[in-house]
Amino acid sequence: MTVVGADAGASRVKLVLVRDGEVVARGAAPCGIDLAGTAQALLDGLLAEAGVPRSQVSAIPATGTGAEAVPFATARVNVVKVMARAGVKLVPAARTVIDVGAEEARAVRCDAKGSIADFALNDKCAAGAGSFIEAMSRALECPLEEMGPLSLKAGKAIGLTAQCVIFAESEVVSLIHRRTPPEEIARAAYDAMAARVSGLLLRLGAQPEVVVVGGVARDPGFIAALGRKLGVPLTVPPDPEFAGALGAALCAEG
């Protein structure tokens, strides 16, 4: 069975082409102004690249905040359900899956089959998601992809008192004026964000293995900070940004 899974996030649209349970192609693009158009173009490109005609795709489940805007979606799947399925597919021993995107963070505890035991959401507060690091990278004038490596060079940990993206930007500006080394500021930003994300697990508990997915999981600065905060080993599967789309695809197969 050939299925496409779609994950329309706040920042990017992700698609995976799955045949008989295995990913054969993937693609992602920024949502832009026209999410529907972007998704369609992405789908066309993906199918062309894989040499698969649309008629061969038996289902296209969609997940994510923008799922309603995906024109070719055949079903909508809950984002938490999707995470659990993808988590155990990518890491069979996964029992806790943390998904950090641009604007939302979620955590789910699941069993070996990917059934949900409990979950927690951090939606609607940008300080606990990727947009926080994006804002900090702008304030530091450091390209986003260099923020993580920069933070890993920090010699010591300092605190960021601001709990809001907007206030943190001002705080970073004054830290820069006081000549605080940028690597310490970067690390402080990750520490602050990790503290908020780890708050999701205060009630759930972090049962091993703890898997981290979502676009932000690609950031070594964030993973290091989250690992320090949680005090447990973290597993990041390859292509963590596509976990949502994969999970959506897996849900089509029952």
Partner: protein
């Protein structure tokens, strides 16, 4: 960054005409060192005599000294001539010449009571970086309070974000937002980051600046109203702080409450400027402490 100057405290000082600095029995001062502006109020026998507003610098003690000195300019009084000084302000403020520090909440309530009279019961203070909702009794004591400085939503800083986006001067935001026939649905009312993203999307859909501002100010008003509901709202209602000049938000809060706020008094000659409420309250506490100590 859009010109935030208009919202920021215009540096100034004033002396109340006829204030008699020489024969007053009790001379006190209150100093309120805020994160953005520092204010000093000099009172004679519990009546306003001189005041000053200045930008807070890098050092709180310096800012306190400078604003008090500014307030005393031309009065013939030196700091040493004051019987009692009380300090207040943001966080663990350090006001070296103060004999005591009182919380900004308590000072604000007492100051508002002095400015508007004993009918004021609910005070909303909307500053550059925080929002305070205070319930007071008729003597100016605090009955309940709530302070938000976690989220930028509703603060002056949050307003600067939309001002920057739309290229509208901060001082004109409020009036511009009222130039709509009816209010559109509000944008996200709890997070400036999301509200801003929604505003961008609305602009792309072809909404006018006025309509987007209306949606944004409506959202911020909803937020402030929710904070007020938590402490409970009782008339009369007064608004202080830099955002008190944002008619776009204040009007919408009044609509939600179903009544108007107390009018801002003419303070040029009296010094009863709501922005100085904290310092006024501190100066009044100074008088009370001084008299208590004198009684033995």
């Amino acid at each position: 960054m859009a010109g935030g100057e208009h919202w920021r405290w215009a540096e100034m000082r004033g002396t109340v005409p006829g204030a008699d600095f020489k024969t007053a029995a009790v001379r006190t001062a209150g100093i309120d060192v805020g994160s953005v502006g520092s204010k000093a109020a000099v009172m004679l026998d519990g009546r306003m005599a001189a005041w000053a507003i200045m930008r807070t610098g890098a050092s709180s003690p310096d800012s306190a000294e400078r604003v008090l000195a500014r307030a005393l300019e031309g009065t013939g009084l030196a700091v040493g001539d004051l019987h009692y000084v009380v300090g207040t302000g943001y966080g663990r403020v350090n006001v070296p010449m103060a004999k005591k520090t009182v919380t900004e909440i308590s000072c604000h309530a007492r100051g508002a009571n002095h400015i508007w009279g004993k009918s004021v019961r609910t005070i909303l203070d909307v500053g550059g970086q925080d929002i305070k909702a205070i319930r007071a009794d008729e003597t100016g004591n605090v009955a309940a309070f709530l302070m938000n400085d976690k989220c930028a939503a509703g603060t002056g800083r949050g307003m600067e974000v939309i001002a920057d986006l739309l290229g509208v001067p901060v001082a004109e935001l409020g009036e511009t937002s009222l130039r709509v026939d009816e209010d559109p649905p509000p944008v996200n009312c709890t997070c400036v980051v999301f509200a801003r993203s929604e505003a961008v999307a609305l602009l792309r859909k072809g909404w006018s600046k006025e309509k987007v501002l209306a949606a944004y100010c409506a959202a911020m008003a909803i937020r402030m109203h929710a904070l007020l509901q938590r402490v409970g709202v009782e008339r009369e209602f007064a608004v202080t702080g830099g955002q008190s000049r944002n008619v776009g938000v204040v009007t919408r809060i009044e609509r939600a409450l179903g009544f108007s706020r107390l009018p801002v008094p003419e303070f040029a000659a009296t010094g009863l400027d709501p922005m100085v409420a904290g310092a006024i309250g501190a100066a009044l506490y100074a008088k009370a402490f001084h008299e208590k100590a004198a009684r033995g």
